[in-house]
Amino acid sequence: MGRITLDKVRKAFGDIEVIPPLDLTIEDGEFVVFVGPSGCGKSTLLRLIAGLEDVSGGQIRIDREDATELPPAKRGLAMVFQSYALYPHMSVRKNIAFPMKMAGVPHDEQERRIASAAKALNLTDYLDRKPGQLSGGQRQRVAIGRAIVREPAAFLFDEPLSNLDAALRVGMRLEISELHKRLATTMIYVTHDQVEAMTMADKIVVLQAGRIEQVGTPLELYNTPRNKFVAGFIGSPKMNLIEGDAATQHGATTIGIRPEHIGISAESGLWEGVVGVSEHLGSDTFFHVKVEAVGAEPLTVRASGEVSLKYGDRVFLSPDMKNLHKFGADGLRI
């Protein structure tokens, strides 16, 4: 079981409050992603749950039991670090065995769990190597193996993929998702990459300056962002946020429209603009169009497949009004 409840948890370093009082419940078996820009407190929050940092106030409960004062090892959580944090002087086998050795698991049982973890993670041939002789992806797998064998109540991942190259990252993302489906254990995953958040999470927690901006499923956040920050943070490329007259017409301070909700045409449309830089991805093309009527920032527009428009071409844009997001002066959704 792995239900984790944060009750008015707060953290201050000296006079600086990095996490104001915060409430959050993570259900058993959920894959929860903490996402936000760097310095938003997501790693600190994870470390508070892990017990690597002491809370300045509030209570952390794991499966209804108060874990606020428990040392990290007693919380039944396993953590995978960004730097992998493998023990460089131990073989892969000893690395994976270490938490079981500390817990006094019988030797036969240790061997059994190592073998099954190694099989699941494709590490069987590398068990007698040292971490220094492994590639980045393999090291990350060892770190995950070391976490699995503990059979923890929940896994904590602290930006585990950010040291890997792009291709490997996509592969490991799938492996971790696969692992979650198979083990059905609670996982908390910290990342600054909203694509990772969208693709992996059951539930996303968007953080900024230590505050929770919104909690919801990936599609909830995408379709109904609670405020301007979430609207701009979730989605790639970013949502177009427009202020000024174009917004006041709709009774809002800011309006937002996603790139795929704007039609582009050479003949007619609501806004007239000039094509700037275009990004051709093959399946999609993203145009950056400068529109006088909505302000200085160019709007990003997505077109399916290849559309033959050049730099400097005059075009017309038609936003899909059904998918318009409106935000008030306080930044909240109207």
Partner: protein, 276 residues
């Protein structure tokens, strides 16, 4: 871009490195060579290099006149003792500075180092007087304490740099994995820091072995180490270069051999952190 190293440049670099190496080694080489000469050839002008009558006479004279074994024992006890005592004190100090730093840690480290800039002779009198009062003059214990204090800043600094290189996340991983502080020290930190501790040990044995100021000033006969043994051949009866060289060779031989066998360890220890 990698700097292009041409063949010629490589040859020049190698030649220069060998040149400097030989230049540094020359005084030691000359001392050893002189120790096998007669007193007459030792001061011959122009000096002779190899074509002289090789003799072991100087060594037998030195062995006859002084009790080499006693000086050697004193040196081993003083160098070894001060280093071990220093490590015992420095490990926890460096540990706490590296892993639980306070806002003043940097200042303390610099202050410790600044004590090395104080001319030793400036505190000779106070320490001499204290030693008389405490009955430490001409004792091995006294020298162990003084040399330990002198080298402590270096030991702490070296260990601190080593511990700093151990990533905090690894220690946190151990904590997550259920290791107690004791288990963390035994299974994770010490094995990872062993190369650092070993080269610190080596360097400090060498420094303590060669230390002459305090060993000459605070000893007379009982606790005198090999530095005093060399000094005893330098002046009283005028200069006898060949015998002085024989004594010097005997004094530096143990540390030279130790250094030779551990040079890899020493170099990696001293350049630790400079290159990844």
């Amino acid at each position: 871009m990698a700097r292009a190293v041409t063949r010629n440049r490589k040859i020049i670099n190698t030649a220069v490195a060998w040149g400097i190496g030989l230049l540094i080694f020359f005084p030691i080489f000359w001392t050893i060579l002189t120790s096998f000469k007669t007193e007459a050839t030792a001061i011959a002008d122009p000096p002779v290099l190899f074509n002289f009558h090789w003799t072991l006479e100087n060594y037998s004279v030195v062995m006859e006149r002084s009790n080499y074994g006693r000086f050697l024992t004193n040196s081993i006890i003083i160098a070894g003792g001060s280093t071990i005592l220093g490590i015992i004190i420095a490990v926890p100090a460096a540990w706490s500075m590296a892993f639980v730093p306070s806002p003043r840690t940097k200042d303390i480290l610099l202050w410790m180092l600044s004590t090395k800039m104080l001319p030793a002779v400036g505190v000779l009198y106070p320490i001499y007087l204290m030693f008389i009062r405490m009955g430490l003059l001409d004792t091995r214990l006294g020298l162990v304490i003084v040399l330990m204090l002198i080298n402590l800043p270096i030991i702490v600094w070296m260990l601190y740099t080593y511990f700093k290189e151990i990533p905090g996340e690894i220690l946190e991983a151990a904590r997550m994995d259920g290791a107690s502080l004791k288990e963390e020290l035994i299974y994770i930190l010490t094995p990872m820091a062993i190369p650092g501790i070993a080269s610190t040990l080596l360097l400090n044995v060498i420094l303590a072995w060669n230390e002459a100021f305090w060993t000459l000033n605070l000893t007379a006969a009982k606790a005198a180490p090999l530095t005093a043994f060399i000094a005893s051949y330098s002046s009283p009866e005028g200069l006898f270069y060949a015998k002085l060289s024989a004594a010097s060779t005997m004094a530096i031989a143990p540390i030279l051999i130790l250094g030779w066998f551990s040079q890899k360890q020493l170099v990696s220890g001293l350049t630790f952190g400079a290159v990844k």
